[in-house]
């Protein structure tokens, strides 16, 4: 875990994360998801990500574009391929796997 801040920085210097979080109003799940996501981003992707929060109650027409069904849904637009993570993002490990952000342990293991 000590290597964590170092490795992603090294490995993904050229990489950039474009993330979209779809929520529907200020529900408990949405709020939790946003809080979790911000935590992971600052932890692993500091300075290399762009986060857009879309409230479908405000812009319902946007749901079709990214094929959103579940709320909350996190969409990784960049890097491709597009990945979607649904739920309140409470499971850190699965979020990192889903976003393809490899913790340093993995890197070191290879």
């Amino acid at each position: 875990m000590e290597n964590l801040p170092v490795d992603p920085t090294e490995a993904t210097e050229e990489e950039y994360w474009e993330l979209r979080l779809y929520v529907a109003g200020q529900t408990a799940k949405s709020v939790a998801a946003l809080a979790n996501l911000k935590k992971y981003c600052t932890q692993y992707l500091e300075g290399r990500y762009q986060l857009e929060v879309i409230d479908l109650l405000v812009n319902p027409q946007l749901a079709e574009g990214d094929q959103i069904l579940a709320i909350p849904t996190l969409v990784r637009k960049v890097p491709v391929p597009i990945r979607k993570i649904i739920g309140d993002l409470s499971n850190e490990e699965r979020v990192l796997v889903g976003l393809d952000i490899r913790p340093a342990v993995d890197k070191a293991g290879r």
């Binding site: 094929q67 069904l69 579940a70 739920g87 699965r94």
Partner: protein, 578 residues
């Protein structure tokens, strides 16, 4: 029954949204429950999606109700291409803001699940789609796809429940399709419980012939037809049979149509069939059923009617040629367009498709008479019950439209009533039977009327022959053992001729005898007259002599008185000489 309907009419009955799918609204007694979800379930290839789309399209075109199609399996382009063959132009409807197709793509591999979630996104999408065009109808095409996309069953089930509730609150009439599960109506065993109406589609192959059937499993708050109804996917979309209601309320006609054979007309009390009645013509092989049917068709056309002839055994050309040989001219009416011969093999289609073909042609051509030759061939396609139910519907349909129907039916065996026509006979109004009258070394054709509703009819079995000028019924010849036919008829006729001749000869002989007698008598009379004349002559002579003598004697007396004596001896002398 009557009371009940009036009572329920006073109460506000369940509002229904007419589906516009032919036949379905009859079975559901008005349509699907308005503002509520309906489940359509069935196995692959049943037409679930098609029924959903037709519901939307008919809603737009017929009832001016915008609709939303949320497709989980196919894209809008694919769906549009699939239904284009049915004449549904989805892109045009979308362009006119009457239809919205929203393809929901769920890719399991793209989705990672962490923590709690709900399907609010789906609700928002659907809500947005509904609100953007003011939709009244919604179709969710295979909601099951969600189950493959989202692994958390508990969440999904509760969300689907919530979806149904939400759709009800929205007040949109919804169709949800689902695949059929093992031992239950749907694979998840959920949708059928939360839907207000469940329609089960079924695709069955019996004896290598596929029949699609539809059944309404449940319908909350309404009565409905409970049977399995065959349905078809035809060029015009889905049609569920019965296409007409099965009530007996049609108008009847008092007009008479000729049978095409004058002598046969005479056998009916009113000289023909009633317009709009159904006629069954049964007979064994080679009893001229087709000829009689063709004669009827010709007569209909001759009377400026329009006739639709379904030939299941012969091609139109063959039929026209064969009928020409017996003096029935069909070709001219085909050219005039008043006769259509529609020939097909019964096995070409399933029963229902035949029925739909007939319906369609009748709708287009608007005939005054329909001939189906023969209905017994349809047995090849289905079992007796199916054929009977199809014919029931067909006869009903034709009656409602006041079309005279003539069916021929081949029966097997001698006089044995086959199961087919036993089923049909109660439905038809007039039943004419033609049969072989097999005698010593020959077969003759006999025709009789078994029944004819609403008019008196002859009870005789009439022999008929087919001549170059058509069918001719022969006069009845009654022999010592009943009606005689064929050679015995000829023998009988010869015998009668001989008898007639003998009688004539006898008469002539008697005449001659009389003549002779007369002549004898006349001769006798002449004789007697001659005799009489001679007697008369004699008498006359005697008379004159007597008179002469009398005169002489009186002169003598006078002379004697004057000169008494001188010549006395002379008179005495003379006296003995007298």
């Amino acid at each position: 029954m009557q009371k009940k309907t009036t009572a329920s009419a006073q109460l506000i009955s369940l509002p229904k949204a007419a589906s516009g799918i032919s036949g379905l609204d009859e079975i559901t007694e008005g349509g699907l429950p308005q503002g509520r979800p309906t489940l359509i379930c069935g196995s692959a290839g049943c037409g679930k999606t098609l029924m959903g789309i037709e519901f939307l399209v008919r809603g737009v075109l017929t009832y001016n109700e915008p609709g939303v199609l949320m497709a989980f399996e196919e894209t809008a382009e694919e769906l549009a291409a699939n239904v284009a063959s049915l004449g549904f132009d989805l892109p045009a409807l979308q362009a006119s803001k009457m239809l919205r197709v929203d393809h929901v793509h769920i890719e399991r591999s793209e989705i990672e699940e962490t923590g709690e979630y709900d399907l609010e996104g789906l609700f928002i999408r659907l809500g947005y789609a509904i609100d953007s065009i003011g939709a009244k109808r919604v179709v969710l095409d295979t909601i099951e796809a969600l189950f493959s996309g989202f692994p958390n069953q508990a969440v999904l089930r509760s969300e689907i429940r919530r979806l149904f509730r939400w759709l009800k609150d929205k007040g949109v009439t919804t169709i949800i399709t689902a695949e059929r599960g093992e031992g239950s109506l749907t694979r998840q065993g959920l949708e059928e419980y939360v839907s207000d109406c469940v329609i089960l589609l079924d695709n069955r192959v019996i004896d290598q012939i596929t029949t699609r059937r539809l059944r309404i499993v449940k319908y909350r708050g309404s009565t409905h037809g409970t049977n399995e109804y065959p349905y078809l996917i035809s060029e015009d979309g889905i049609s569920v049979l019965p296409v007409t209601s099965l009530r007996l309320e049609h108008e009847v006609s008092d007009q008479i149509v000729s049978t095409g054979i004058p002598a046969l007309d005479e056998m009916f009390g009113r000289k023909g069939f009633y317009q709009g009645s159904s006629v069954l013509l049964t007979g064994t092989a080679g009893t001229a059923k087709t000829t009689l049917a063709a004669a009827f068709a010709q007569q209909v056309c001759r009377n400026n009617g329009r006739c639709l002839y379904f030939a299941f055994e012969e091609s139109p050309q063959q039929l026209v040629r064969n009928m020409r040989s017996v003096g029935i001219q069909l070709g001219q009416y085909i050219e005039q367009g008043t006769l259509i011969i529609e020939a097909s093999r019964p096995t070409l289609n399933g029963l229902e498709r035949h029925l739909v073909t007939i319906h369609k042609l009748v709708g287009e051509f608007k005939p005054t008479a329909v001939v189906i030759d023969p209905i017994s061939n349809l047995i090849n396609v289905g079992n007796v019950n199916e054929v009977r139910s199809m014919l029931t519907r067909l006869i009903d349909f034709l009656k409602v439209n006041n079309i005279t129907a003539l069916f021929t039916s081949l029966i097997s065996g001698n006089m044995q009533m086959d199961a087919t026509e036993e089923g049909v006979s109660s439905l038809v109004d007039t039943w004419v039977s033609v049969r072989d009258l097999e005698g010593i070394g020959e077969r003759n054709r006999g025709l009789s009327i078994l029944k004819s509703r609403g008019m008196s009819h002859s009870n005789q079995v009439r022999e008929f022959i087919i001549t170059d000028e058509g069918v001719q019924l022969l006069d009845v010849v009654v022999g010592p053992k009943g009606i005689v036919t064929g050679a015995s008829r000829l023998a009988r006729q010869l015998q009668e001729q001989a008898q007639n001749l003998a009688a004539q000869q006898e008469l002539a002989r008697k005449d001659r005898e009389l003549e002779r007698r007369r002549r004898v008598l006349e001769a006798t009379i002449a004789n007697l007259r001659t005799e009489f004349e001679s007697v008369e002559e004699e008498f006359r002579q005697l008379n004159s002599e007597e008179q002469g003598r009398h005169e002489t004697s009186s002169q003598d007396k006078l002379r004697a008185s004057r000169t008494f004596m001188p010549t006395d001896p002379k008179p005495t002398d003379q006296q003995p000489n007298l």
